[in-house]
Amino acid sequence: MTGPVTFRVPPTVPGSRVLAFGDYQPARVVTNDDLAEMVDTNDEWIRSRVGIRERRIAAPEETIVDMAVQAGGKALATSGLTPDDIDLVIVATCSAETPMPNHAASVAYRLGLNAPGAYDLNSACSGFCYALSAADSAVRTGAARNVLVIGAEKMSQWLDWSDRSTCIIFADGAGAAVVAASDAPGVGPVVWGSAGDQSDRIMIKGRESFILQDGQAVFRWATTAIAPVALEACERAGVAPRDLAAIVPHQANLRIIDAIARKIKAPDAVVARDIVTAGNTSGASIPMALARMIERGEVPSGAPALLVGFGAGLAYAAQVIQIP
């Protein structure tokens, strides 16, 4: 007969940090003028309401896995780790072509990783911040040593290209981060939450449907509810907003980004405005934007960056990280 036993658990790790970011954008550029030929819109209207100048749209045969592999491979190469070092892959996506298999396992295989744990996570536009938090937890509890976190989206396959309220906004791409154990925590506590009473504000109803969005209601929510979440993430991490080197909100709409940044009051922070040339790539937008800011040398290594994701759910999450 057996009785209660005490399980052995791995020793906890003090913290995790991001070693490197990577990004990928599909080749095809779609300008506002291109869209004006398809729907009743124009360059001036799109720029002033949404802030997008151009976006990238994946080729018909290009998949979420393809894009995730590109961004993930770039982050892995920059991190200095080898494929064998990665023991967990998390892909955040809300635009999957099919419910299974998951994307993470295929991405791991294509990158030549050694049979890591692999799962997808769906929290739409806030997905990357949720996935980063999951990676941080996995490292700190000893469940994984090094995690590849990817946000990858092919929003274009869920767009009604005759709906001018959505087809001008969403786009495709992928961004990735390599998260590893660290004696000094480089990923701050996550602040997250949801407002499921507004679940119908941004949705895809079914497989024959498209992305539907109540733009004005989402705008009101995002410009009021999200800055307090971001400020709480700073507070929880013990970082004063004035010390932030970067603010990287989900690239939903330039006007939302500006409204959030204005309320955070971080005079020295570079505010991500990747939406101008990338569009709204949902769960991919935050790592894409930060990867590109780092690549352009806009933000100093080691300084704190505030990440804040928000969108369908409605769901949101924010954390402060140390820029690799």
């Binding site: 002033s48 309401r49 004005q216 209601a217 705008f219 009101r220 410009t223 009021t224 006007r255 409204a259």
Partner: protein
Amino acid sequence: MAVATEQEILDGLAEIIDEIVGIDKSEVTPEKNFIDDLDIDSLSMVEIAVAAQDKFGVEIPDDELRNLKTVKDVINFVQNLQK
């Protein structure tokens, strides 16, 4: 909250509009139409409504916002709800 006078609401609104869309306070007068005279679009109106909510303690939902065409409309709306 004490009921604000028409002038107080106008001044408060002008401050909000200056901060959000950068229109000089002197431009904001009661007869001005937000869209036609001040060139303020629907998204800015949402931001202004939210800021007005903080300032005057009066909620302006999206449904009501559509009917507020002029500065005077907003002043009346705020005054009616504050009473």
